[in-house]
Symmetry: none
Subunit: 190 residues, 4 copies
DNA sequence: AATGAATGAGATTTCATTCAT
DNA sequence: TATGAATGAAATCTCATTCAT
């Protein structure tokens, strides 16, 4: 008996991301993804219950990837500002390295598929950095405001700036990233 | 015949927005939009070259609307912080009043259609408020950094927070909006 | 504007019946029916909500046809035996003339689609002949037994015999039909 | 290994019958039958040449079952009417006990698979009761008419009535069955 | 201008069957 | 023998668009 093939699984992941980047979410049909991954469309249904499941699985995988990347060598004991700055740079670095992954999540999270993902599961991946923020509030280093507000100034701008770079001509060099971090810190620091 | 035209045009606009909000961008077919607007699918092609044009037109219309709303009673002579704060509140108010318009732009700007819009045209609608920022830089009130960076902290957080409200349980009352503005201002002020 | 085409409607009806007879119910796909009717598969969905609707509509149409045929020149005032005998012969004649219609109903009524038809509606078409049976019971000419039992001996044998003819070598000449009626009458008469 | 074989064989038989009853002939795919029988789809092809063979085998098995059931304790020496009445009741009893088997044959015998069965083989199972009819004709107890005609009145009504029970609300109690036999006997007796 | 009919192209998914272990 | 993986073929149905009135 044959056994499920990790190579195929991986090929499907890559094909999905690549195609969504090239032709967009709506135009990425199962047939096209299959062709890109060099498998039969029917094979996709061996690995995934339906198209939805393929897209959602891909999304979750990417989110796991990024959570892993930004928490690499995570050192809880550093000063809060340093931790945030490190993560800030690592996030930009990850997006720069995998702009296609980033694009995919952007398209996905504004599609109807978004609602199929258990947000709590995703958020759990980012617990370490979130806890840093909470500790900052406790230590009166960071403003004591609703967590969604902090997010809007310490995480969301990364997306905004990366999008600006991906879609336009804005250059994201180290200097710009550092400058941007200054603004983020000014926003949230007490 | 003019009146009839405008009614159909408006019906198509509303139907497009409504449907995209209800069933998403990808599922909003020409036929469904036509049915929602109580016209024949063929009629859409009297008013628009193709589906693409319908969606793009709708997007531009919404952007015009919001630009109009946030610049209402715009007073150039006030202190810069006051102007920004007024616009900040007006933007939240507009989104709260038309969450469907907002959702539409979110979906649109992450779709492949996005590239069909002349960004310069859209940006022109927001010139007044942009000029305020530029003046702020000149007067050394606002940090002299790349404009995209300022945008990421003074405009984008609105989207982040509105999305948080639309998608989750975050409450956007006046107090929260005011608090958030404090962070935005701290970010960009010199 | 084009208007719906009776010719197409009729062509679809004929194609459906013909194909079901030739290749069976399960193999009769929408595509094949469309090809047989010389229309696009998509056109079928202009005239019918889905495949199910096409098949059910076709079934009801056939049932209407047969009800019309067996009640042609229906004369309520004749003796009950004569009425039944006339209908008996007319039914065999109709089936002989349209064996394909008959085959279709046989396949349909043993398929899962069967449950989608409102039986009451169908039965209503056969009210006149049913009323004759009821009158016969009243006049103590026909056995006073459950109506389903009468049906099993005065109507169902027609199907059995026609099926025998359609599927095998049994010959249904006037003499055999007359003989069979003798048995049917012996069964139900008081 | 023999035991294991028989268990799988039996499981496939039961699964096929059950599924055909639940979702109909056309929707009963090989995969679904395999899942229902808790075996791999590939295993079916160890026991059967193809899907067709599985369905035909199942049909023949059921026919054998019923032939066995109605001929149980078959006593050739009783009066013809008594023999027929006994068989009549035994048939109803068998159908009542295995309505799913009955339903399966009904669906099967109106499907294209029907033509794959050698009718002579099936009919041979029912020789004993058929011979009774022939003897009845010889002894001038039963009408001397074409055998298909007799069948239509002494066997087919059972199907009609059982179907009426299966599909609708008609109640098949002993009294009704007895009454129905009266009609059947009146039909065929000389 | 306005429209319902019509359709080729293509969507997602399931099928019966074979493969490789 | 027994199996889960794999797939070409085909299923139903929807799409954006054009046609004919």
């Amino acid at each position: 008996m044959r056994i499920k093939d990790d190579i195929k699984q991986e090929a499907l992941f890559e094909a999905t991301v690549k195609l969504v980047n090239e032709i967009g979410f709506a135009s990425s049909s199962v047939s096209k993804i299959a062709k890109e991954a060099c498998v039969s469309p029917a094979t996709i249904y061996v690995y995934h219950k339906n198209k939805e499941d393929l897209l959602v699985t891909t999304y979750i995988q990417i989110k796991k990837n990024i959570a892993g990347a930004i928490h690499k060598d995570f050192d809880d004991s550093l000063p809060i500002r340093d931790i945030l700055k490190t993560v800030w740079f690592k996030t930009f670095a990850h997006i720069a390295k995998h702009p296609d992954y980033f694009q995919y999540t952007e398209q996905f999270s504004n599609s109807p598929y978004q609602s199929l993902v258990d947000k709590q599961d995703i958020e759990a991946y980012f617990d370490p950095i979130v806890n840093v923020l909470l500790k900052g509030i406790e230590q009166k280093i960071i403003k004591n405001v609703d967590f969604d507000i902090l997010t809007a100034f310490i995480f969301y701008p990364i997306i905004a700036l990366s999008n600006a770079r991906v879609c336009q001509e804005f250059e994201l060099n180290d200097e710009n990233i550092e400058t941007a971090f200054t603004l983020a810190w000014d926003a949230i620091k007490l």
